[in-house]
C-alpha cells in the first residue's frame, strides 16, 4: 500500500509543481493560453520521446548515452526516405531502424559484459557517424501531413496535437509491455538482478528488450524532430543530458527498479516551462542553466527526504 502511495506521491508532487509553474507563466504573461501551451508541447515533443526511452533503460538498471545520436540517425533516415516514398512506409522503416539500433546497443552490453555507460558512449559516436554518412548536411524533406499533424490542436479540441500524439505513441508501446511479464521483468532486473535471475527472469533478454524499447522511442523522437523542422539534421541535438535530467527529476532512480514513465514526462514539461518563464523574465541565458540545475537538485533532494520520512512512519 505505502509503496503505491509513495510512487504516486512523487508524480502528484510533480503535477502540482507543473500547475504552479503554468499559473506563474500566466501571471507573468497574461496572454499565455492554448497557443502558448501548444508551442511548448510541440517544442517538448522530441524531449518527451528521448526521456521516455531513457527512462525505460534506467529502470532496467542501465543508461543509454546514445539516445540523441539514434534520434539523429532516425531523423535523417526519415528525411531521406520521405523524399522517395510515401510517409507511412517510411515511418515504419524508421521505427524498425530505431528498434534495431536499440537492440544492437543492448545486445553488445549483454554479450560483451562491458558496462552500459561505456558501450553506449561508444555507440554515441558510432550512431553519430552513421547519421552523417546518411546525410552529410541538413537536408531531405518530410511529408506535409506529418508536419501539419503535430501542429495545432485539432485532433482533440483543446489539447495540443503534439501532446495527443506523444500520449498515443507512448501508451501504445508501453502499456501492453508494462502489463505483460516483460514489464515486470524490466523492473525486476533493475531492482535486483540476482533475485530476478533466481525468479526465472531471462535477465539478458530483458535488458536487450529494454534497450530495444529505448531505440524505438528514439525513432519516435527522430521522427518528431524531422516533422518539426521539415528536414533531417545529422548532428545530434541536446537530448541526452536533458533526458537524463528529466528521468532523475521524474522520480526514476538511477540504478534501476524504481519509478515510472509519467513522472519523467511531466518533468520534461516542468523543465521546458521553467525555461519559458526565465526567457519571459528576460533572465540571462547563462543564469538560466544555473537555475535549472539548482531546481533539479532541490526537487530531488526534497522528494527523497519526503519519501524517506514517509517510509519511516
Amino acid at each position: 500500500m505505502s509503496g503505491i502511495i509513495r510512487k504516486n506521491a512523487w508524480v502528484a508532487g510533480l503535477l502540482a509543481l507543473l500547475v504552479v509553474l503554468l499559473v506563474a507563466t500566466r501571471m507573468i504573461q497574461p496572454g499565455f493560453g492554448v497557443s502558448g501551451l501548444e508551442s511548448i508541447a510541440r517544442a517538448a515533443l522530441p524531449f518527451v520521446f528521448a526521456t521516455t526511452g531513457m527512462a525505460v533503460v534506467v529502470i532496467v538498471g542501465g543508461i543509454d548515452l546514445s539516445v540523441a545520436s539514434m534520434m539523429a540517425v532516425c531523423a535523417v533516415t526519415a528525411a531521406v526516405l520521405m523524399e522517395r516514398m510515401a510517409g507511412v512506409p517510411a515511418i515504419l522503416i524508421v521505427l524498425a531502424l530505431g528498434l534495431a539500433m536499440g537492440v544492437i546497443n543492448g545486445g553488445l552490453i549483454v554479450a560483451t559484459r562491458v558496462p552500459d555507460i561505456v558501450v553506449t558512449l561508444a555507440m554515441l559516436f558510432v550512431w553519430e557517424g552513421v547519421a552523417l554518412l546518411i546525410l552529410e548536411s541538413p537536408g531531405g524533406s518530410t511529408a506535409d501531413w506529418l508536419q501539419k499533424s503535430i501542429r495545432g490542436s485539432f485532433l482533440i479540441p483543446g489539447l495540443p496535437n503534439a501532446l495527443v500524439i506523444a500520449t498515443v505513441c507512448i501508451a501504445v508501446v508501453w502499456l501492453p509491455i508494462r502489463r505483460a511479464r516483460l514489464g515486470i521483468a524490466i523492473y525486476a532486473t533493475g531492482s535486483d538482478e540476482r533475485a530476478a535471475f533466481r525468479s526465472g527472469v531471462a535477465v539478458g533478454r530483458t535488458r536487450i528488450a529494454a534497450y530495444g524499447i529505448c531505440g524505438l522511442f528514439s525513432a519516435f523522437g527522430g521522427l518528431s524532430l524531422a516533422a518539426l523542422t521539415g528536414i533531417g539534421e545529422p548532428v545530434p541535438g541536446p537530448y541526452l543530458l536533458a533526458s537524463v535530467a528529466a528521468v532523475v527529476l521524474g522520480g526514476v532512480v538511477l540504478g534501476g527498479g524504481r519509478g515510472g514513465l509519467l513522472g519523467p514526462i511531466i518533468a520534461v514539461f516542468i523543465l521546458r516551462i521553467v525555461r519559458t518563464i526565465l526567457t519571459l523574465l528576460a533572465v540571462d541565458p547563462n543564469v538560466t542553466t544555473i537555475i535549472e540545475g539548482t531546481i533539479m537538485v532541490g526537487v530531488v533532494m526534497l522528494g527523497t527526504a519526503a519519501t524517506m520520512r514517509g517510509a519511516r512512519t
Partner: protein
C-alpha cells in the same frame, strides 16, 4: 518410506578457473524423503546447490529429475521440471509488490495465500512492496511461493537462519507434512538440532565430493563431523613461533552482552593485549555483524563495548579508528587503494594520522615502510599497483600496513579466504608478530584448522551467541567443528 526416485544427481564436477569447487558430488532424493546436505565451509555446498537448481552449469555429471535428464540451464527451467529452490538470500524483487513477484514466477495466488497463512504470517496484502517487509517475512514468502507451485522436490538452503523460533517450528511442521504427502525435500543446514528433528538421511560433502550418506539416528552428529573433516591437508605449521606478547591482566577490549539485529543476540568476551583471539563460527552466525559493530559501522542494539576500560560509543568507523580499533574487512577491495602502489597503501595509515605539516619525519616513515615491504616478501615486480598483486599478496599488504604503523587492536575478518596455502603460512607469522608487539587481534577465519595455528584462545559463536571459549593450543579440529555446530556439552561452556 521410499518410493520413486525424484532427484538423482551423480558425479557432478565444476571448476572455476584453476579452483575445483566440485570433483564428484552426488545426491539423490526419493518420494517423501527429507535429505540433509551437509559440509564444512568451502566443501562445495553452495556450488552444488546452484548446479542442482540450474543457476550454474556443471562441467560434468548428470542431474535426473523423475528419471529424466534435466537439461537445467536456468532457475526457470529447474522450476518447470519440478525442482523449486528457496535460496539463502531472498529471491524476491524489492521494488515490486507481492502480486508482481508472484506473476514473475507464474505462481498461482490462492495456494500462495493459503501457505502464507499456514506458515504463520498474518496481515499480508498482495500490494505490499517487498522492500518494506521484514527479512523473516520474506523468507516465509519465498517458501510459500515455492510451495504454491506444487514442487516435486523442494530445496531449502539455510532457510531457517533468519527466522525466529516459532516460525522455524512451523516451517519444520509443514515440511514434515508435505513429505508425508510424497514431496522430496533437500535441507541444507548447519543446525544439527533441526536436521535430526526433520531429516531422514544426510549426505555429507567434503572438498567437493560426496563422502557419505548417513541415516539420521542418535549419535549421528559425531559421524557427520568425522566425515566432514576427513583427512585434511596438513598445514604442518605447528612450528609457528607462538610467544605471547605482554599480556596484561586488563582487557584491551571488552564486549558485554552485545546484541545486533537481526542475528546477534548475546555476545560477550574479553580481548587482552598481546593475544590473538580466534572466532569460530559457521557462516552466518552473526560474526559479520559483530565485526562491523566493533569497527563502528553500526551501534549494538543492546550491551556495550569497552576499550581500555572506557565505554566505547562508536557512531562512525572513524570513532573506532580513533580508539585504536582497526578493521581489516573480508573483502580486500574494501581495504586497499587498488590503483596505488604497495608503498602508498602501507603508508596510508601514517598519512591519515598526520595532523600537522611541521615536523614530519618523512625519512623515518620511509624507512619503516621499506622495512614492512621487505618483511612481507611481496613480489616487487607488481608493486606499482596493488590491484596487480595476487589475492594473497594483497592480503599481506592489508595486514602488513599495521605492522609498519603500529596498532592497538586489529579485527581481522577471514583474512585467508581464497588464498593459497603458502601465502597463508606467511600470514600467520604476521599476525603473531602483531600480537608480540602487544597488539590485540580478533581473528575470524572460515578455516577451522587455522585456529590452533594462529590463535591463543577462541570464542565459539553459534546462532548469535557465544557458546564456548576454547584454549586454541589444545583444540583439535574435531572439537572446534563440534563447537561450531553448537554441539557443546552445557557444563563444558566456560
Amino acid at each position: 518410506m521410499s518410493g520413486t526416485q525424484l532427484l538423482d544427481a551423480t558425479g557432478i564436477a565444476k571448476s572455476f578457473g584453476a579452483v575445483r569447487a566440485l570433483t564428484e558430488a552426488s545426491l539423490h532424493v526419493s518420494e517423501g524423503e527429507i535429505v540433509a546436505l551437509m559440509g564444512a565451509n568451502g566443501a562445495g555446498k553452495s556450488t552444488f546447490v546452484k548446479i542442482i537448481t540450474g543457476a550454474l552449469r556443471p562441467d560434468s555429471g548428470t542431474v535426473l529429475i523423475r528419471g529424466r535428464e534435466a537439461r537445467v540451464g536456468s532457475p526457470a527451467q529447474a522450476r518447470r521440471s519440478g525442482l523449486v529452490p528457496v535460496y539463502q538470500e531472498p529471491s524476491l524483487i524489492p521494488d515490486l509488490d507481492v502480486a508482481d513477484n508472484l506473476r514473475l514466477t507464474d505462481t498461482p495466488v490462492e495456494p500462495f495465500r493459503r501457505w502464507v497463512e499456514e506458515l504463520g504470517i498474518r496481515r499480508l496484502a498482495l500490494s505490499d512492496m517487498i522492500g518494506d517487509l521484514p527479512l523473516a517475512t520474506l523468507r516465509i514468502l519465498d517458501l510459500a511461493r515455492a510451495l504454491a507451485s506444487a514442487p516435486d522436490v523442494l530445496l531449502l538452503d539455510e532457510m531457517t537462519a533468519a527466522l525466529p523460533t516459532d516460525l522455524v517450528e512451523r516451517v519444520l511442521k509443514v515440511m514434515r507434512q508435505k513429505a508425508d504427502e510424497g514431496m522430496g525435500v533437500i535441507y541444507v543446514s548447519h543446525r544439527f538440532g533441526e536436521i535430526s528433528e526433520l531429516c531422514d538421511r544426510a549426505t555429507v560433502l567434503r572438498d567437493g565430493m560426496s563422502v557419505g550418506d548417513l541415516k539420521i539416528e542418535p549419535g549421528v552428529e559425531d559421524r557427520a563431523v568425522e566425515l566432514m573433516l576427513g583427512q585434511k591437508l596438513d598445514l604442518a605449521a605447528r612450528d609457528i613461533h607462538k610467544t605471547r606478547g605482554t599480556t596484561g591482566d586488563r582487557p584491551r577490549m571488552r564486549v558485554k552482552g552485545v546484541a545486533i539485529a537481526p542475528k546477534v543476540s548475546d555476545i560477550s568476551f574479553d580481548l587482552f593485549p598481546g593475544e590473538v583471539l580466534g572466532v569460530v563460527a559457521l557462516e552466518g552466525q552473526g560474526q559479520d555483524e559483530l565485526f562491523e559493530c566493533m569497527a563502528g559501522f553500526m551501534p549494538p542494539r543492546a550491551g556495550s563495548i569497552e576499550v581500555n576500560g572506557v565505554a566505547a560509543d562508536f557512531r562512525h568507523p572513524a570513532d573506532a579508528i580513533a580508539a585504536g580499533v582497526k578493521f581489516v574487512p573480508g573483502d580486500r577491495a574494501d581495504a586497499l587503494l587498488a590503483q596505488r602502489s604497495v608503498r602508498e597503501n602501507i603508508a596510508l595509515p601514517f598519512s591519515a594520522r598526520i595532523r600537522a605539516w611541521g615536523g614530519l619525519k618523512l625519512r623515518h616513515e620511509r624507512a619503516r615502510v621499506a622495512h614492512a615491504i621487505a618483511r612481507l616478501q611481496i613480489d616487487t615486480r607488481a608493486q606499482g599497483e596493488v590491484q596487480r598483486l595476487s589475492g594473497g599478496n594483497q592480503q599481506k599488504v592489508t595486514i602488513g600496513r599495521w605492522l609498519a604503523t603500529g596498532v592497538d587492536t586489529l579485527l581481522l575478518f577471514d583474512p585467508t579466504r581464497g588464498i593459497d596455502v603458502r601465502t597463508k603460512r606467511q600470514i600467520y607469522p604476521l599476525v603473531r608478530e602483531l600480537a608480540e608487539q602487544g597488539a590485540s587481534v580478533l581473528f575470524y577465519t572460515s578455516e577451522l584448522e587455522e585456529i590452533p595455528l594462529a590463535c591463543d584462545r577462541a570464542v565459539v559463536i553459534f546462532n548469535g551467541r557465544v557458546v564456548d571459549i576454547i584454549d586454541a593450543e589444545v583444540a583439535d579440529e574435531q572439537t572446534l567443528l563440534r563447537a561450531a555446530y553448537g554441539l557443546v556439552a552445557q557444563e563444558g561452556a566456560a
